[in-house]
Symmetry: C2
């Protein structure tokens, strides 16, 4: 394993220090317990949006804290859920009278810890659970995983909260975006968790992992390496089957790199995925291409489709000012 | 080699198609010869900024076309200079009465082809040569290479052109930014050029390449893998020796990933580099951390320092709307 680190045990802290220093106009970092919150708070009450999860997926979630998106994010150790005291401290720090909405990716540890934090929280609160990964069946024992679609939920609900929507409205909007969002990805390589020091799984030179998770967990099935066209066809077909967009449907198409895949290849995937849906009369109204929900140094990518309505489109376009997403500000 | 491609020969075209489709609000793509230009032109005359170079460094340069930055970019094949007819067609397409400024990274092929294009161009034109890589001595046979500092030249001069500065002013500003910018990087792995199908060079598990170029060319020297602190110390010391910033000097600090290095590690590098200069009383006034000048799937990063004056700072902050950099718009 070669990584640019000093000490595996301090990696997260040192990285967060650099993140907070590089973006001090946007975020502040708190220690013991660790969380990141906006450096400027809203003067009038607004629903406080909080997310979090294991680290290693940067820029998700810390890079999405800022105006028009999250109020705080709780980073756990790499691929490890943050603790309830992080979530509680974050909530108490940023809540300002309109309640707290937790946005949680569907992993057992995250779900449990956010539930414990919610129980201890005295203000009104709701949770939106994101489980957009269609590589697993809905009947899977722990349900489907939350992956790159989480960013889309955070952006759209973040804009609604910024515009003064109430907690119940943010909650139902979040559920609506989550329900209309589906993702699937594949990996060309595993990632290497620093504390483990070796790749989480091995793939042969002619093998990929289809339906891979974002923690280096193996996917739906190993498959033979194939052309980009066939790989993309496989995932767009699965997403299409889930969401069944009709001709004329407006969508947001998000191609997400897992960390080690060049932008050239991600744009090629975007081209293929866009063609797939355009051929069905679906209108690619908005796009997002880049490394947003990563798995450390894993090579590969995912495709996420969100069926948009007018409100969701307006909220996607609303101003945002975070480390990773910025427009209109 | 595992890459998400259909055919090595079509990779660039397919990728550019996806890029242009994903960012159709910002750019348009032209074929035969190939170049990318802004989709909306300036109504009043402004200096037209054009850059280009081999592909494989995305988002540089195509991702930097748009309001407040480049007017056009000419992508060559991977790590191969674009041809003079691309540059000439781009210049003729975007020039609107105030002349053309070429921003060229210092590589023999790029320099020669931009010179040929300039000779054929009938309007007034100037060239800014970027050679910010301090890993090579100034006396190196072909001079120092242009690397991640190029983006900084493009951003600052792009803002000046947008604000109506004349060609001679843009040229001297570009030279000033280039002179006050220095970079150096190291690689943990080589990249793999698709047409070659194997890594350009091999490194042992305990080896890195210090002072590496952005084309997978070997660097100043192979070194034993070391802590992040020692690696960063090595490059910040070389940059510091070159630019010699004094206490109180305001700087822009840019940590650039080569493509396969997680953001967590880049922020850790930022933290270390910032501490190095802060200890000397240098003021880190602005920062940029991410994968901007990449080398396909190479792991590693570079550090770039720019000594800022008030005008450069104001121009860095000015609105920009490109695929890769966006603020104030």
């Amino acid at each position: 394993m070669k990584k640019i680190i000093n000490d595996v045990d301090n990696l997260l802290d040192e990285s967060l220090n650099g993140f907070a220093k590089a973006h001090q106009d946007i975020v502040s970092l708190q220690h013991q317990p660790t969380f990141v919150h906006r450096s400027a708070f809203s003067a009038k009450p607004k629903v406080a949006l909080i997310s979090g999860g294991g680290s290693g997926h940067e820029p998700l979630h810390t890079g999405l804290v800022g105006k028009g998106m999250l109020d705080a994010a709780c980073p756990g150790q790499i691929f490890t859920s943050p603790t309830p005291d992080q979530m509680l401290a974050a909530a108490q720090s940023v809540e300002n009278g309109a309640g707290v909405l937790f946005i949680v990716k569907n992993y057992a540890g995250d779900v449990m810890n956010f539930e414990i934090a919610a129980e201890m929280l005295e203000c009104q609160h709701e949770t939106v659970l994101v489980k957009d990964d269609v590589s697993l069946p809905e009947t899977h024992s722990t349900g489907r995983r939350g992956v790159a679609g989480t960013l889309i939920v955070e952006k759209i609900v973040g804009a609604a909260a910024e515009q003064g929507k109430e907690l119940s409205q943010c909650k139902s909007l979040g559920d609506r975006v989550a329900k209309n969002t589906a993702s699937m990805g594949f990996a060309l390589t595993s990632c290497t968790v620093p504390a483990a020091g070796r790749p989480t799984f091995e793939l042969n030179d002619n093998e990929i992992e289809m339906g891979v998770g974002i923690h280096g967990e193996r996917g739906r099935e190993p498959m033979t390496m194939n052309s980009a066209e066939e790989l993309v066809q496989h995932i767009t077909t699965a997403i299409d089957k889930e969401l069944n967009p009709q001709p004329g449907q407006q969508v947001l198409l998000h191609v997400n790199g897992f960390g080690a895949t060049p932008l050239m290849e991600l744009y090629l995937v975007f081209d293929l995925a866009a063609k797939f849906w355009e051929a069905k009369g679906v209108e690619i109204k908005r796009s997002l291409v880049g490394n947003y929900t990563t798995s450390l140094d894993m090579a590969g990518c995912s495709v996420t489709l969100t069926l948009l309505d007018e409100e969701m489109l307006m909220l996607w376009d609303a101003p945002v000012h975070t480390a990773a997403l910025r427009w209109g500000c």
